[in-house]
């Protein structure tokens, strides 16, 4: 059995592009025979449990969400910065009592609020810990971890834990922790996937995120174009349809019906042409592109598996033997 090529997959995208769905599908795609994959969310939206129609993830539980048809298992974890801080204090300072005292004084909220960077370090720190479990073969280890990360507008800031801590502790365990996280994020173990729609704003944000991530040395592996409507028609056929050059003629249909179809398809063709232009814009980023087909039936568990198959076909997820 070949092992996953990357252990940590970070999925980001503009709001509304379906990044949570893609993160869940990617976790399923990685969870082949006997593998355990963890999918983490950090924004308190519980999007992943909503997607699978299961109860909320609370108190740092890592619960199995489903078994994949390929025989693996996907686990879910909702990372909360306050839980992460308390766990961190316990691990590094053995602060059982003081940890509780901190909470009583509102210090945990205070610390995570006054230092937004600290919040990010705590969140990525928990992901780091989950990845390390796999590397060190500790109990409850995972073969791969998928992070449903903050939106593209904030992704570089979120992952760049070094800068986040710039104004904070210059020495000590949190600094060391940040260094270790950064090493993991920059290593070959970690890749970022940017989810986009073929619309102007998400494409622009994807371009901006790629530029913002470049100096961090964190690797963007794939741009995932979501909700793409595939068509066998070429540009000329689409242009002619968009301009309603000649009316469509479905045999046996009245002129009125054909006119309505012509009008409706003109819009669709125009939109497809625009999408093709945006696809060209994305190719100039020189990154591998995966395309996920639009599912008119809406997104549910079955749709997630369909997307997962499309991801497996287009992204090389396993290391070469």
């Amino acid at each position: 059995m070949r092992s996953p090529r990357h252990t940590l997959h970070i999925v980001s995208g503009k709001g509304g592009t379906g990044k949570t769905t893609i993160a869940a599908a990617l976790a399923c795609a990685l969870a082949t025979s006997g593998r355990r994959v963890l999918v983490c969310e950090v924004e308190g939206r519980q999007g992943i449990t909503e997607l699978f129609g299961t109860s909320r993830l609370v108190d740092a539980e890592e619960r199995r969400l489903l078994r994949t048809p390929a025989g693996g298992a996907v686990f879910g974890l909702a990372i909360d910065p306050e839980d992460a801080l308390l766990e961190y204090l316990e691990t590094f300072y053995h602060l059982g009592l003081a940890g509780r005292a901190l909470d009583r004084f509102g210090a945990v909220d205070f610390a995570t609020s006054i230092a937004p960077g600290l919040r990010d370090v705590l969140l990525t720190g928990k992901v780091y810990e989950a990845v390390r479990r796999g590397i060190k073969q500790r109990p409850n280890s995972y073969d791969a971890v998928v992070l449903d990360a903050p939106p593209t507008g904030r992704i570089a800031q979120f992952l760049n834990v070094h800068t986040a801590l710039a104004g904070l502790a210059r020495v000590g365990p949190i600094r060391n922790q940040a260094d270790s996280i950064m090493r993991l994020l920059r290593s070959a173990t970690t890749v970022v996937h940017l989810v986009t729609l073929l619309e102007d704003m998400p494409v622009t944000e994807t371009e901006e995120a790629v530029a913002a991530l470049r100096p961090t040395q964190i690797k963007v592996a794939t741009v995932i174009e979501n909700m793409v409507v595939p068509t066998p028609l070429d540009d000329d056929q689409l242009r002619s349809a968009a301009s309603q050059e000649k009316p469509l003629g479905v045999p046996g249909w009245t002129e009125k019906l054909n006119a309505a179809l012509t009008l409706e398809f003109a819009d669709e063709a125009a939109r497809t042409l625009q999408q093709r232009e945006r696809h060209v814009r994305l190719t100039s980023l020189r990154l591998p592109i995966a395309q996920i087909a639009f599912d008119p039936a809406g997104i549910d568990e079955a749709a997630v598996f369909t997307i997962s198959d499309q991801l497996r076909d287009q992204i090389r997820l396993e290391a070469v033997a």
């Binding site: 349809a241 309505a260 639009f294």
Partner: protein, 377 residues
């Protein structure tokens, strides 16, 4: 079950409505809706200012707020024949915060605050700052137009930040206040006295752990900041309370923006409930990017027809029929989700805005959306 129709024009035409706040999940077209409403109101004769938070570049350019300069500028190209006008601005949260500090303290004190590293972190990246500053700016614009009387704006349209949760906008002032006014901070600043002394063992433990995690320097920065900020703070809190009061007055109304998709409607439901709970006035729901067709052929029939056609002579017809089938399915799916929303919240009025073939990049497109907003679906 049909939802009551949300008549946008009756809100825009009601001169008692002075503030419209558009809220909803990220990526549902909030900014576009706010801009379209502002243009429509201005061309109907109202003196409008629209406060946008993070507009798409080309939309911003079409409104003439390409640069982020934090002051309302007149929008060129708006039809002022009815006596209205339109100004637009884009929020610069750090600058808004700086301005408040400068306006409400002595020059020395202001300089001390602005230079403080903790203030710099707070004003540029604190989770609630953008929401808080949007509120602050709204308060300022309102005060400014009240002061100008007849020449001032008579309608402020606010686009809320792309919040992680739709609640952030309402909670931000409280969050910032509780942070700056919190127990931990007070303990950190004041030597333990009286009953607090009893807790000081636990507290010292807590404070020393905090120092270890955050580093000693930031604690010193925070202390300096809070000391300098203290005089200002009462004013801050008072302003936040005033703005919240303004939001629940009869002059303000909220619009919830969504798309006919599960996530967006879930957020919308959440926000509708929260507004109801807080007794904030909800005008209605705007559902963007709704699909529609004038062709009444079912999905199954279209697909069956496509199968029978000759792919060599009628490739475009086949594709058009397939797309029509997919479109019909989307329409059914959307109708189902909207019905569900209405069955649980039957009194919420709504208006549907159909999906557009291209991006919104100019005033004409905004006018067109205005028409779609006002049209009875």
């Amino acid at each position: 079950m049909t939802a009551p129709f949300f008549d946008v024009d009756s809100i825009l035409g009601d001169h008692e409505t002075k503030i419209i706040i558009c809220c909803g999940a990220g990526g549902v077209g909030k900014t576009t809706t706010s801009a379209a409403l502002a243009v429509r109101a201005a061309e109907a004769g109202r003196r409008v200012v629209v406060l946008t938070i993070d507009p798409a570049r080309r939309l911003a350019q079409s409104l003439g707020v390409g640069e982020l300069d934090n002051t309302p500028r007149p929008v060129a190209g708006v039809d002022t024949a009815a006596g209205g006008s339109l100004d637009a601005m884009m929020l610069d949260m750090k600058r808004t915060f700086d301005d408040v500090v400068i306006a409400h303290s002595t020059p020395d004190n202001a300089a001390a605050i602005l230079d403080n590293p903790f203030y710099q972190a707070l004003s540029s990246s604190f989770a609630g700052t953008q929401e808080y500053m949007a509120m602050e700016k709204l308060g300022q614009l309102h005060a400014q137009s009240e002061a100008a009387g007849e020449r001032g704006w008579d309608l402020i349209v606010v686009d809320t930040p792309p919040a992680r949760s739709a609640l952030d906008f309402l909670d931000a002032p409280e969050h910032l206040s509780s942070l700056l006014d919190g127990r931990f901070l007070r303990l950190l600043l004041a030597p333990a006295r009286g009953p607090l002394r009893l807790m000081s063992v636990g507290f010292n433990l807590a404070a020393s752990a905090m120092t270890k995690i955050l580093g000693g320097q930031i604690i010193i920065d925070v202390k300096t900041f809070v000391t300098a900020f203290e005089a200002l703070f009462g004013g801050f809190r008072q302003r936040a309370t005033q703005t919240l009061g303004l939001l629940s007055s009869r002059h303000t109304t909220f619009l919830v923006v969504a798309t006919a998709q599960r996530d967006a409607l879930r957020e919308a439901a959440y926000f509708v409930d929260r507004l109801t709970e807080e007794r904030m006035p909800l005008a209605g729901l705007v559902i963007n990017r709704v699909h529609a067709t004038k062709l009444s052929v079912s999905a199954a029939r279209a697909l069956a027809l496509a199968e029978d056609l000759d792919p060599v002579t009628t490739p475009v017809e086949i594709e058009a029929l397939r797309r029509h089938a997919a479109l019909k399915r989307v329409i059914e799916q959307e109708a189902l989700l909207l019905d569900r929303f209405t069955s649980t919240r039957p009194t919420v009025a709504r208006t549907l805005v159909s999906t557009l073939a291209s991006d919104v990049t100019d005033l004409d497109a905004l006018r067109h959306i205005g028409v779609l907003l006002a049209d009875k679906d």
